[in-house]
Each structure stands twice: as structure tokens, then as C-alpha cells.
């Protein structure tokens, strides 16, 4: 029990970091599902592209092992460029792979998304090879930096991830709850046709949703790179699966649900690694998922909408 208590805060920190990344990915899944009722399986690969864009910016700005500008600006620049790039990528994917399928059977966009996912993964493998790339986080954030709370240590990198995630979530909440665009998004999510009849430009809303969701995934990619340093072309697959899981646990289509689901999944995994066994990490995460869904079939915060006939 003592060992458990001693480890607990550290595992919570690990869980929060992991959960932050999952939550950011889950948000994109959930938002797209909200407006289009489709699973964007290529979302994990957008996240992977984000990690690579961040890597590219980092390499460009740290040419000889010495940062050209203040590290803080490099991090901000990495995030902004990756978010912008991924946002545009998301919009392009929507335009070319999903828009023509908007009135098709439900499985068609799913398969098209799988196609996009294949394409992105292999395009990256073709141009950048299958090697692992390493973020040089130590050049941006001194390895020793961090906060100590007794025996527990909150490294700077992890603190940064958690803080940036929380900032992004607050901005998103403001966007969705307080702006006209957010209102339109919520309207489209509730009933696309009715929203269109009320004068909402549905296409614009869908583009905006893809842009925001993909930008969040791009940020998640850069944050992953900063904390876990290793990026490669196949990283989007597992992460996408986890993000999807988190979105479903929270109740897909529900933004606070995606955040909650992400953090919950991160915590579960980190506890599984810390207290049970690292080998069963994914198994435990999925068992928790199955249990949650069996108890609450529409996710934790999912509304019990009566079925439309």
C-alpha cells in the first residue's frame, strides 16, 4: 500500500500527459463525428503528419545543434506550423476524399478514410523512409528542468504538454460555446438539414470542423514528439485507435466527453503500466473501454437520444 501511495502522484502525472495527447486526438474524431456522423480513420495519420511537420520546423531552426532563436519561440512556431499544416491537410482530405461521399452508404466514407490513411502512411514512408526520427527536445528544454513536489517530479516537458493542452481546450470551448461559428457547428451537429434551412452554411461549418479537429491533432503530434521524442510513419495508427477509443468512451460527438475520455484512457494506461504490467497496457485499456460501454452504451457523457424513426 505504501509503495502504491508513493507511486501514485507520478503515475497521475504520466497519465495526464498521455491523456492530454489522447484527448487532443479524440477531440478531432469527436468533432468530425458530431457534424458528419462519420469516423475519420485518417485522423491518426494527420496526427503523424503533425509530428513530422513539427520535426521539420525543429530541424530547420536548429541546424547545427544550436537553436537559431529562443527555444520558446521554436516550440511555439512548431506548434503553429504543425497546426496550420494539419488543418489544411484535414480540409484537403475532406474536400477530396469525403465530400463526394456525403450521401453515400455509411461504409463508403469509412473505406475512403482507410484509403487516405494508407496513402498518408506510405507517402511518408516513401519520402522520409521508415526510420525513427528523434525530436531534439533536450536542446529546447533543459533535461533537468522541472518542478519537485517532495518525491514526485513534474518534468518541464510534461508540464508543457499539460498546460498547452489545457490552453487549447479552453480556446476550443470558447470557440464552440461563444462564437457564431461554434453555434453553427452545434446546430449542424444536432440536425444538418434543419441547420441548412436556417441559413447555416453547412459546407463552411464542415470545413471549419475539419480544420480545427486536424489542427488539434497536429498539436498533439508535436506534443508527443516533445515528450516521447520518437516519431515515425506508423505512429498514427495506435494513437488514432486510442483517440477513437477515448472519443467513444466519452461519448462520441461530445466535446467535453472527448476530453474526459482522453484523460481517463491516459490514466488507465499509465496505472496499468505502473501497477500491473506494461505488457498488458493495451489489453487493460480496451477492457476498461468494453466495461464502460457495457455499462453506458453511449459513452460517459453521451446523451441518450431517442432513436429517430
Amino acid at each position: 500500500m505504501d509503495a502504491f501511495l508513493a507511486q501514485l502522484p507520478q503515475q497521475i502525472i504520466n497519465g495526464l500527459t498521455l491523456g492530454a495527447v489522447y484527448a487532443l486526438i479524440a477531440l478531432g474524431y469527436s468533432m468530425v463525428y458530431g457534424v458528419l456522423q462519420m469516423l475519420n480513420f485518417a485522423h491518426g495519420d494527420v496526427y503523424m503528419i503533425g509530428a513530422f511537420i513539427g520535426y521539420g520546423v525543429m530541424v530547420a531552426l536548429i541546424p547545427e545543434g544550436a537553436p537559431l532563436i529562443t527555444p520558446v519561440f521554436i516550440i511555439i512556431l512548431m506548434l503553429l506550423v504543425a497546426m496550420l499544416g494539419c488543418g489544411l491537410l484535414g480540409v484537403a482530405i475532406e474536400q477530396f476524399a469525403y465530400r463526394p461521399l456525403r450521401n453515400s452508404p455509411r461504409l463508403a466514407p469509412l473505406i475512403s478514410a482507410l484509403g487516405v490513411s494508407f496513402f498518408l502512411q506510405n507517402a511518408v514512408q516513401l519520402t522520409l523512409t521508415a526510420e525513427f526520427r528523434n525530436y531534439q527536445t533536450e536542446l529546447l528544454i533543459p533535461p533537468g528542468a522541472g518542478f519537485d513536489f517532495g518525491d514526485t517530479r513534474l518534468p518541464m516537458t510534461r508540464a508543457l504538454v499539460i498546460v498547452i493542452t489545457i490552453i487549447l481546450m479552453i480556446v476550443l470551448q470558447y470557440l464552440v460555446r461563444r462564437t457564431k461559428l461554434g453555434k453553427a457547428m452545434r446546430a449542424v451537429a444536432i440536425d444538418r438539414e434543419a441547420a441548412a434551412m436556417m441559413g447555416v452554411d453547412v459546407d463552411r461549418v464542415i470545413i471549419a470542423t475539419f480544420f480545427i479537429g486536424s489542427a488539434l491533432a497536429g498539436a498533439a503530434g508535436v506534443l508527443t514528439g516533445i515528450v516521447f521524442t520518437r516519431v515515425w510513419h506508423f505512429m498514427g495508427f495506435t494513437a488514432g485507435l486510442k483517440g477513437f477509443t477515448a472519443a467513444v468512451v466519452g461519448g462520441i460527438g461530445n466535446i467535453p466527453g472527448a476530453m474526459l475520455g482522453g484523460f481517463l484512457l491516459g490514466m488507465t494506461e499509465s496505472f496499468a503500466v505502473g501497477f500491473i504490467s506494461p505488457t498488458y497496457r493495451d489489453v487493460i485499456a480496451f477492457v476498461v473501454l468494453v466495461i464502460v460501454l457495457l455499462v453506458r452504451p453511449r459513452g460517459l457523457l453521451g446523451a441518450r437520444i431517442p432513436q429517430k424513426v
Binding site: L114, T127, L289
Partner: protein, 480 residues
Amino acid sequence: MSKDKIGKDEWVASYQQRSAGIVGWRGALAGISERLPTWAWFALVIAIGVAIPMLTSNTYIIRVAGNIALMATLAMGLNLVVGYAGLLDLGFVAFYGVGGYVYAYLSSDFSGVHLPTGLTLIIVIGIGLLFGLLLGLPSLRLVGDYLAIVTLGFGQIFVQLMTSMTRVNLPGHERPVNLTGGPNGIVNLDPFSILGFTANTVTDYYYVLLAVMVIILIVGFHLNNSRIGRAWRSLREDELAADAMGMPTRQLKLLAFALGAAIAGLSGALFAAWQGSVFPGNFDIALLINVYAIIVLGGLGSLPGVIVGSVLMIAIPEILRNVELAGQLFYLLIIVTLIATLRPRWQSVALLVSVIVFGLILKPILVALSPASFAALEATSSGFVDTIRNWLAIPIEAKAVGNLAFGALILMILLVTRIKDMRVRFIALIPTLYLLSFVWETRLSQEPSITRLLFVGVLLIVLMIYRPNGLLGERRVEVV
């Protein structure tokens, strides 16, 4: 229109009537296929299947054909669940894996058990049914995407457990027991042998796989046309309405899951016997994607679609293995696509000529601008691909430039599809096509394995855009 119209409304029927009125050779072909009775189709498939090993002794081709038969069997199982009953099951491959592992346990030195294959297959099917029921139970509570994620979770758990259950503390054993062989799998399985026939060669296995495929297809055909099949379709179209009409929806869902799982288990056992070993990696998500691609390509709920989809998804990547052949096919495909899409037709000829001239002009200019970056011109050339390589201005740094060109190509293609003006598009197509062949020669043909997957991705997207119901799928309107 001999097929029944259950599950289609009048609008669909009229649409099909219109689409049935296709003229020309496509119409003639459609007419022939309409008149041919179903047993004739089965006979045709069997005849082609049986003939393959007689026409060629190339074991590679027979192996690919066997793979197609195996995947068709597996896809038929998935088609029952997703195509007929409309349950989005993403854990399907786990059943395939269960079948494979059960076969491995019951016929190898790993467990020390060597049962006769016939008995093993019966056990495999039984366990498949059982697992299908187990996994089907949550499906009674969950709908749509929630069901998808839970089943996906089961699939992931299966692979994880098979990979990691190498040191399990069991009561009654002092040391941790290796239950699954871990990433190294279970090897040296007994060969498939039933009723005195033992499969030794690739051809033997091919016939076994073909026989099983035909049996499963016949079962699937009769299921689809039975009471149960109709009930499944009603469930797929509208669960609430089916329930209101008195369909036992719970039992129907469980039945679909169980039968699908049993078929998957059977194909998994065959796979294990054929490969002679099982590894967790054999049952991962890549296979799931492949099977889904097969049934969606062929058309959900379509029986011939299963075969067509398997042929396409297995054979095309195999054909692309041969670089020279792949190159010729690649250029042929481009030309055919141009002829098929550009109107008036002379445009495609004009375009090709323009591209060739463009290349001929571009190369001397580039070489003159920076002679250092191009290798000395090869004076002689033979063969189609060499000619093209000579025509292109391929720099010494082919890889790096090719990568950049690949990025530019994607942008150009996306741009071209957005241009509405005919003349502008024609002009934009010239550099796009040049880039396309440049990228093919510098990068794509150099990395065949990656290129294959790239093409699969593009194929899935393009196919879904032009034929969202798959190649042989029924057109139907989604009830909103």
C-alpha cells in the same frame, strides 16, 4: 430483374430499371449475366478454380490463387455479418486468429496434442460459434459505431494476449507457463489431412481451400435467399421496423455473429494448416483492413463481389511485384484513364503528344541550366522503360528530387481535379503527367512494396467516390 425486391423501394427499382438499360457491349454483358442461372456462375467459378493448377505448374501462381480462395472464404464470413446483417464488426479477424490458434493447439508438439484434422475442424467451428455468441452479446446493447469500437477492442485484445501470454502463472505449475508462444508463434503444425487425404504440396492445399470456398459460397447463397437472409436484410435496413414486424432481432444478430465467426474460424484453421505455423502478426489490423476492403470493393452483401474483391485485392499487389511489368501496366493505366475520361477523344492523343514534346524540350533546358546535376546522356537504349527513362530529365540526385516531385505531384493532381475550365486543365495536365512519370521512374518503381500500398490507398478512395456501393453492390438508398 429476376432478383426479389425486398429491401428496395420503388425509387430504387426505377433507378435499377434505368441503369439496366445500358447500351453497347456493357449492356450485352449485363444481359448475359442476367440470364445465366446461379448454378452456372458457381460452375464457372469452380471450373476456373480447378483449371488453374492444370494450366500452370508455377507454385507461386497457385499460392496466390490459394490465397485468393482463402481470403474469399474469410470475406464471405464477414459479408454475412456486415453485408447481410449490417453489424459493423471490427473484431472479425480475431475469430480467424482463434481458428488458427485452436488448430495450432490441437495439432502440434507445442501442446503435445495431435488430433485428426476432421475432429479439429469440428472443434474449431464449435469454438468459433461460441466466441461469436460471446462477442455478439454486447452487440445486443450497442449500436453502430459503439459496436465497432468494442469489437475492435476485442480484436486488439486478442492479438495482445497472443503476443504477451508467454509467462503466465497458472495454479498447479511452479514456473510461469508459455501459453501462446508469444511473438514467435507456434510452429511445425501437422499438415491438413482428412478422410485419408493428406495435403502436402501447394496444389493440394489449393484444392482444399477452393473446396471450402465453394462450400461456404453455396452456404452463403442459400442463407441469403432464405428466411434468415431476408430477416437479416430487414434488420440491416431498419432495425426498429424489423422489430416491430416481429423479427427476433436479438437472435438474428447473435446468429449472424456466430455464423460469421465460425466461417472465420474455419478459414483461420485452414490458414494455420497451410502456413504450418501461426504468429500473432498474422491476425493484425492490416488483415482486417484488407478483408473490409475486399467486401466493400466487391459490394457489401454481394456474393460474386466477394470473389471479385479478393481477386483484386490479392492479385493486383502481386502483379505489381514485377517492376518491369508494373511499369508497363502503370503507363497503360494512365493512357486508358486519359482515353476514358477526356472528351472529345482526340484530346487524349493531343495531350500525350504535348507531354512528349514537353519532355523533349524540358530536358535540354534543364541540362543546359545545370549540367552538373545530370548524368551523361545514355546514348543507346532498349525496351520501353529505358526509352522513358531517357526521355525524362533524371538528375543524379534522383531520390531527393523525386521526393520533392512526389509532393508537387500530389498538389498538381489535387489542383487538376479542381480546375473546371477545359483548356486550363489541358495545359495543367501536361506537367502533371510529366511529373507522374518522373515520380514513377525516380521513386515509385524503386520502392515496390510501398508503392503497392499507396496504390491500394488511392484505389480505395477513387473507387468509393465513383462506386460507393462497390463494383457489384446493389444500389440502394439509405433510409434517413
